[in-house]
């Protein structure tokens, strides 16, 4: 018997289905094309001097708040930002959601700290903004974006063997397996 598919690790970006229904996700992204800040992750729209770099930096900084360096690598140190940005660019729904989130992010940063640029905030300020997104009402853009990106970041970060050694995990499961399975673990 295999476990219920409701809690799958795969399909993280499939409309954020593990947390949000597809219907909720689409309602959130609907109309994203008319939002004030167009998505420039692929460099399509000029907002700042180097819009693609600016927005990529925002994603990178956002991810490093979600998965910071603390003796073990941060998200960007394992290249998770590049993977996530690539996936955003390949997923129309997610691209639109990100566009809407950037609008929110700019407004929230400006309101709290006087600048609309997340990347110019210090670490503490960024954490405050990210916490605000996480604690937003269910079904809103910031909360949806936060959880979809959080799970996407974990999905890639913890599939990287460089993250495993800090957990004393000697994977992948094959070819060695765990022949000591009957004994108490020897933790490094």
């Amino acid at each position: 018997m295999t476990v219920v598919s409701a809690i799958r690790t795969s399909s993280i970006y499939n409309g954020g289905r593990a947390i949000f229904s597809r219907r909720v996700f689409l309602r959130i992204v609907a109309g994203a094309g008319v939002c004030g800040l167009s998505l420039i992750l692929a460099g399509k729209t000029v907002l700042h001097n180097d819009p693609a770099a600016e927005n990529n930096q925002t994603i990178k900084d956002f991810l490093d708040i979600l998965i910071p360096e603390d003796g073990s690598p941060s998200a960007s140190q394992l290249g998770i930002d590049k993977i996530v940005i690539d996936e955003i660019n390949r997923n129309k729904d997610l691209l639109e959601l990100t566009g809407k989130f950037f609008v929110w992010l700019e407004a929230a940063s400006k309101k709290a700290f006087g600048t609309g640029r997340f990347s110019r905030l210090n670490d503490s300020q960024r954490q405050q903004i990210v916490a605000e997104a996480a604690e937003s009402a269910e079904g809103t853009v910031p909360r949806t974006f936060f959880y979809v990106i959080l799970r996407g970041a974990f999905y890639h970060y913890y599939a990287n063997p460089l993250s495993w050694k800090y957990l004393s995990y000697n994977g992948p499961p094959q070819p060695v397996g765990f022949p000591d399975q009957a004994e108490p673990p020897r933790l490094s």
Binding site: M1, T2, V3, V4, S5, A6, I7, R8, T9, S10, A18, I19, I65, L66, I67, P68, D70, S72, Q127, V130, A134, L150, R151, F154, Y155, Y157, Y158, A159, N160, P161, S163, W164, Y166, L167, S168, Y169, G171, P172, P173, Q174, P175, V176, G177, F178, P179, D180, Q181, A182, E183, P184, P185, L187
Partner: protein, 537 residues
């Protein structure tokens, strides 16, 4: 079936709708991204199906709704979710992703009608099937306990000694002893020693993701290569059967299929055996209606698709205080049969079993812990990862499912597959008796976990609020009376004498949580013997 027939020098053409898998290339357990995928489905390795009206949830059982302590409550509509029919279309079928459990039916659970006026009696008793269980166990290489099983007589010992319980499972075993329950080594089609040219298990916990090491006795590693090696069996993968054509004199004339290149083919044989599982088999028979069988093939009794029995299932997971590295294990390595008899649960008809299930629950590596165990984000999440990784233990419970009139398979009136054949529609309903059994299963699972030293329940998944089944049964059941069954005691159509069905659709009752694969294999070997002895069939 293919092995049993071909080893008797009967020519067999084996048409498999799905692809073949190469464990060394297709399975991912040696790759960094191994945990990002469950079973690596290929194109056309899943069947299509739909659902009928799902039932409104009975709020008296709301304690048993599916939740995860990170994700919260997963199903919020008040209507039972459609979920998943867990299966693989491919050479080896769903055994490619099964946990390797190799169970014999509880003889007590084969007489449900005469004892409890529930389900139907098997048209023979356990003693009749026992020799065929022994043959199947030899082919698969089952590792099982050396002690006698009081419920299931065996004429031969298991081919291999049992697996040692994992360290995590030993905690569950000890906890159960405190409750007066007895967890024993599970009988597994997973090698505990080298056998038949295959290596023993190295306890990677990846059984459900496809066994890369080939120690798991999936059909593609055991029966099928042996069948092909006889020289009497031809295997054609990627061939989707689209219809079975009936002829005169109550005999099947031919089988139509679309081959792997998309060409329509037709083939004739002396005998036709359908083995597509309890959802696809009735679909194929119902879709094969025609002049000789206007209501569908084998459906003279109107029973094809009826009596659908699904998996009554719950899996409960909790955090243990001790560092266990509980991902190190064979799936379901220990099992408790204490409540397996159909009268074992107070005020409930139908039994159940409990098993260690940490690997089955998917708590197999860092990614699942990151998504399902550690809460929050930032440094707090990382700290939780370090504190909890490897500490989850899980208990699964599977129970008897009794047939009811609202649970059946029929043809979807609107949806068709690529060949224009209506897809199967799953109509599913849990009766109050099923839910009472589920309540016992889940309450007991919690007690086991707490008694094992685990603290907080972090996840509970149950079929109360979502249809989720791998073990499905009953939709072409065997019986002595052609008026209320589809097949006779040899899995032969009551009317179409050269048509047989061998899969779990033939089960008159589901059993009290036994995994069905070994019984299907035993039935196939027995039926093959009948075919060989009755060559004029």
């Amino acid at each position: 079936m293919a092995w049993a027939l071909s080893s008797k020098k009967i020519k067999v053409l084996l048409l498999e709708s799905g692809p073949a898998y190469d464990p060394f290339k297709d399975y991912l357990l040696d790759k960094p991204q191994w945990e990002q995928t469950d079973f690596p489905y290929k194109a056309n390795s899943k069947g299509k199906y739909s659902f009928g009206q799902m039932q409104e949830l009975d709020k008296r059982f709301a304690d048993f709704e599916t939740f995860n302590h990170v994700l919260g409550k997963l199903f919020k509509t008040g209507i039972r979710a459609t979920g998943t029919y867990g299966h693989v279309k491919g050479v080896g079928g769903t055994t490619l992703m099964y946990s390797g459990e190799a169970h014999r039916m509880n003889p007590e659970a084969m007489k449900m009608k005469s004892r409890f006026q529930a389900a139907a009696d098997w048209p023979f008793d356990y003693k009749e099937l026992e020799p065929y269980y022994c043959i199947a166990e030899q082919i698969v290489g089952v590792a099982g306990p050396t002690a006698d099983d009081a419920k299931r007589y065996r004429s031969k010992p298991y081919p291999l000694p049992p697996h040692r319980p994992s360290y995590g499972s030993s905690k569950i075993q000890a906890g159960c002893r405190k409750l007066g329950m007895n967890f024993v080594s599970n009988s597994l089609g997973i090698l505990s020693a080298p056998y038949d040219g295959r290596p023993p298990c190295n306890y990677c916990g990846g059984c459900n993701r496809g066994c890369q090491r080939t120690d798991k006795g999936s059909v593609d590693r055991t029966f099928i290569p042996k069948a092909v090696a006889t020289g009497y069996c031809t295997l054609r993968a990627g061939c989707q059967v689209t219809g079975i054509e009936a002829g005169d004199n109550d005999r099947i004339k031919s089988v139509s299929y679309v081959d792997s290149k998309g060409n329509i083919q037709q083939v004739s044989g002396r005998i036709v055996v359908v083995s597509c599982g309890a959802i696809e088999t009735p679909r194929l028979l119902l879709a094969s209606s025609g002049r000789h069988a206007p209501d569908g093939l084998c459906n003279e009794s109107g029973m094809v698709g009826k009596n659908f029995m699904e998996t009554l299932y719950a899996i409960t997971s909790a955090l243990h205080d001790e560092r266990l590295a509980s991902y190190r294990a064979a799936s379901a390595d220990i099992i408790c049969w204490d409540y397996n008899n159909p009268d074992a649960i107070k005020d409930v008809i139908g039994g159940c079993r409990f098993s260690a299930a940490t690997a089955e629950a998917g708590f197999a590596g860092p990614l699942n812990y990151a998504l399902r165990v550690a809460k929050g984000w930032g440094k707090g999440h990382k700290e939780q990862m370090r504190q909890t990784f490897g500490n989850v233990i899980s208990v699964a419970a599977i129970g008897e499912f009794l047939p009811n009139t609202k649970s059946y398979i029929d043809l979807d009136p609107a949806a068709k597959d690529a060949s224009g054949i209506p897809i199967a529609r799953i109509n599913t309903y849990n009766t109050e008796m099923d839910l009472m059994r589920l309540r016992f299963m889940m309450e007991t699972s919690r007690q086991i976990l707490f008694s094992s030293g685990a603290g907080k329940i972090i996840e509970q998944i149950s079929t109360y609020d979502s249809f989720t089944s791998s073990h499905v049964f009953g939709t072409c059941r065997m019986g002595k009376d052609s008026r209320d069954s589809v097949l006779n005691a040899y899995c032969q159509s009551h009317r179409w004498k050269n048509l047989f069905v061998v899969d779990a659709s033939v089960f008159p009752s589901s059993g009290g949580g036994e995994s069905p694969s070994l019984t299907i294999e035993a039935l196939a070997i027995r039926t093959a013997g009948y075919i060989a002895e009755n060559k004029s069939t």
